[in-house]
Amino acid sequence: MSHHLYLLSPSDTPLYSLTHYSSKPAQTTTTSPLASNLPSWSTSAFAGTLTALSGATSATQAHHVQGGTVRIGGGQDRHVIQMIANASLDVVEEVVRKDNMMYLKSVDKFNEWTVSAFVTPGNMKFVLLHEARNDDGIKSFFHEVWELYVKTMLNPFHTAHTPIRSPVFDARVRASAKKYL
């Protein structure tokens, strides 16, 4: 079971990203490959894209698409993950306009990926893609990442809204992910 974390500046520039593979047992998720919903006359090119999209599952599955190539959807497709994260930003901004809380639970759902978001008072967005439900753990994780982010901002050598390259920050976020996710 994996998690993808993205830290985004107020201008939606990615400042930090992390992929964490949790050792906790994955809950059974019902995957419904989009390809199976396709009518039989769909072209192979379109089907190929859909196969790639449904390839964004962690479970190893074989997809048979009519007229398309058989593709085993194993592992994550990096680009798809980022696309999902980007797409969720619109939803995040909508929710932010309505509510006034920092932790927005799950704002978006794609296949089996849920997107949870956390918006800091400084308008930094933390976006987490995950599969299973884990509200409490994710909330605690977001709060810890927020604290670590604040400490990084206090470093006089760090310029605001630039990518965070500090190895100390990276190590601490990973440790926090291990603890909560």
Partner: protein, 208 residues
């Protein structure tokens, strides 16, 4: 009157408690950090930045000593060892609320002068003490970037200047420098202060 180590600690504690104007530690650390970063941008040479920090510290130290002597009412130190004790337990405590540990060292034997002095007194030129700081309020939240590590930046070098300036005003010419810093990846943060010579009373130089 030789005070014991405990008495020095008590004096330092009293002065710190007696101060009515204290400053928020984060504001202090952020201000100093901004200062160092600005110096780096202006001079672009880490050795030069170290020198400037030391110079700034020297100017602070020459003025700070008056405040220190007025509040602490400590008399003249009998030897350089006592200077180290007072600096660590009373000086650092009353201004920064930290108590570095002190380690004394006698003068190193020099090859040139093989005079038959018996045991070197704690007052001899060349004596030194090393202050080990287990916490550094100037460097909270600081992480040095690669270039600063390679360039040899001593982030808290202002402290060395303060020590040099303050001790010069009480007739001791010393050399103070960092020998280790946790920001640079070392185990501890250490400043070594070495006595160069005692100064005779003379007309202050440089202000003409």
């Amino acid at each position: 009157m030789a005070s014991t180590s405990k008495q020095y600690k008590a004096i330092g504690e009293d002065i710190w408690k007696g101060r009515t104007e204290k400053i928020n530690a984060e504001l202090f650390a952020l201000t100093y950090g901004a200062l160092v970063v600005q110096l780096i941008q202006d001079y672009e040479d880490y050795a030069e930045v170290n020198k400037q920090l030391e110079k700034m510290g020297y100017n602070i130290g020459t003025r700070l000593i008056e405040d220190f002597l007025a509040r602490s009412a400590i008399g003249r130190c009998s030897d350089f060892k006592e200077v180290g004790e007072v600096v660590a337990k009373v000086g650092f405590k009353s201004f920064l609320n930290i108590t570095p540990t002190v380690m004394h060292a006698g003068p190193l034997p020099s090859e040139s002068t093989r005079s038959s002095t018996p045991t070197p007194s704690a007052n001899a030129v060349g004596s030194s003490f090393t202050l080990t700081l287990d916490e550094n309020p100037l460097a909270e939240f600081v992480e040095l970037p690669e270039e600063a590590l390679e360039g040899g930046l001593w982030f808290s070098n202002v402290l060395c200047g303060v020590l040099r300036g303050a001790l010069e005003m009480v007739q001791m010419q010393v050399q103070a420098s960092f020998i280790a810093d946790v920001l640079r990846g070392d185990e501890t943060t250490e400043i070594r202060v070495t006595l160069l010579k005692y100064l005779e009373e003379e007309v202050p130089v440089g202000d003409d």
